[in-house]
Amino acid sequence: MLNQEFKIPAKLKTTSLVLLVIGLITLGAGVATLLFSHEVVSQTRFWAVLLQNSIFFLLISLASVFILSATSLAQAGWIVSFRRIPEAIGSIVWVLGIIAGAIILTLIWTDNYHIYHWLEKGNIPHNSLNTLKNFFLSKPFFSIWTVVVIALWGWLGVKLRNLSVQQDSEPKGSTKTYWINFKYSAGFVFVFALTLASTIPWLWIMSIDSHWFSTMFSWYTFASSFVSGMSMIMLWILYTKRHGYLDIVSDEHIHDVGKFMFAFSIFWTYLWFSQFMLIWYANIPEETIYFKIRMHGPYKFFYWLNIILNFVCPILILMPRPNKRNYFVVVLVAVLIIFGHWIDFYQMIMPGTVGADWQMGWFEIGILCGFVGLVIWLVANKLTKAPMVPQNHPFLKETIIHIS
């Protein structure tokens, strides 16, 4: 059944819409009780939670575009069997990008210095640590770069998907679109290196603690988003497979995606530790302050939960080969990883904004539900628009006989 088209199961549709409605109600309640509250902490909490969730879901969707580009450039055959899933996730990047961009630009142009401290008037000139960042952390540069980057990501995500769908209606054996796709993939990897792998996490997340800096930070964010992006792809593969689609995806493909989840969890830990150890060893006050609030301060619980969910669980559970082929175990770990990295983003953003007054309550969980519902709804709708298997991809045979 190579030309099977995806029909959204009723249960999935209901679930996603219920989650989306929960999110919208939470957002409404948040606007009423938090945004217009007299307490600065409540307002900051409102914006910080929106910032965390919108950036997190934008970046893990973007990871799909990256894995598509990277495997296209490597001319990898194994991914072709479930290529439509990262394509569908990648083509919703623009929606999440608009949401994240709107939130970030609102923060910048309303001078919300409780989130981005460098927006406070007089903060930058009087602080020698910030003077070197004057150009980088200025409203015009920040806004233009944010808009340009989101536009590029959204456009390339949709473009890669459209090229692949276009290939379906081409004559058999034609490789024209394949090579166009190859060029766009190369372009995306270049864009990705200049944005997600370097400047964007500095601007959007690291500048919350604008006195602190870490050259590992963008890689750390990349690893975090990539491993949760692979987990999300895994969840979609297993969900659609369970409903009778994607029968050319075998245990071998599942095993390969499982290896990505396993390996990049370790890669994330490697970057996490590299960032921590240099700061711990040098012991310079303006650097250690970042870890003081997280390791010994009010975020102690999330800090260690982060390590347990994102390192200890994946490495111990996914290490044996049979576990990477067991659908139940793999789904469990994928959910743990996605939740773990959501916690990771939480502890990146909250200490510098709400500080000691953190809360993990109805608003945080409600907004999380809303974004999960939005992503499920958008991706499921995208999947119905084209056959679940690329029809004329040159590597189609290679992917069917693939052995990991």
Partner: protein, 193 residues
């Protein structure tokens, strides 16, 4: 050290080899080994090979490396020769992690390479009988251990599976130390049979 009799079939393509392996196994023959010029994906499954336990050995070597590094450094810096480095604790765990990691990798890597060599009987100086000179170049060679009685019938059967060349020969089944250019050594072994 045992010289045995083998029926040998030479195939020139993996597309012929796979059905041949299937036919030979379903006919009830026990394949001694298949020699290929490159790693053929899925051949281990077709041959019915069990999954290797090499990774379990690797895990044990890795844990040994972790324990060695932590134990040795911990003993030095807390018991044997405690020193104060910039006010760090006497057991500075984060500073140990890179070395613990490296030793874990080193133990696992070296241990697994040696175990792999032992399991596959490959080592500098270790030689095995080569059934066909082109099995490392472009031919696929299958060897089946036979007795004097069934040698001819096995050879005929192999011929029917699409082999381009078949033969029955006496060969050393195990490994030995030596060099292939020392022709005499090899021929003496043949005569011993």
């Amino acid at each position: 050290m045992s010289v045995k009799k083998f029926a040998v079939a030479v195939y020139d393509d993996e597309a012929v080899l796979f059905p041949a392996v299937k036919k030979v196994r379903s006919a009830g023959y026990k394949i001694h080994d298949v020699y290929t010029p490159f790693a053929v994906h899925g051949l281990d499954v077709a041959l019915g090979e069990k999954e290797s336990d090499l990774h379990v050995a690797g895990f044990i070597y890795g844990i040994t490396g972790t324990a060695t590094a932590l134990g040795f450094m911990g003993w030095i810096f807390t018991t044997d020769w405690p020193q104060n480095f910039g006010g760090k604790p006497t057991f500075p765990l984060p500073a140990f992690i890179p070395i613990v990691f490296e030793l874990t990798v080193l133990f696992a890597a070296v241990g697994m390479v040696l175990t792999f060599c032992y399991l596959n009987q490959i080592m500098p100086g270790v030689k095995k009988h080569i059934f066909h000179p082109r099995q490392t170049d472009d031919k696929f060679v299958m060897a089946i251990e036979v007795t004097d009685e069934n040698a001819a019938s096995t050879e005929a059967f192999l011929k029917s599976t699409g082999a381009e060349e078949t033969k029955v020969e006496m060969a050393e089944a195990d490994w030995w130390y030596g060099r292939f250019d020392q022709k005499e050594e090899y021929e003496i072994k043949q005569q011993l049979a």
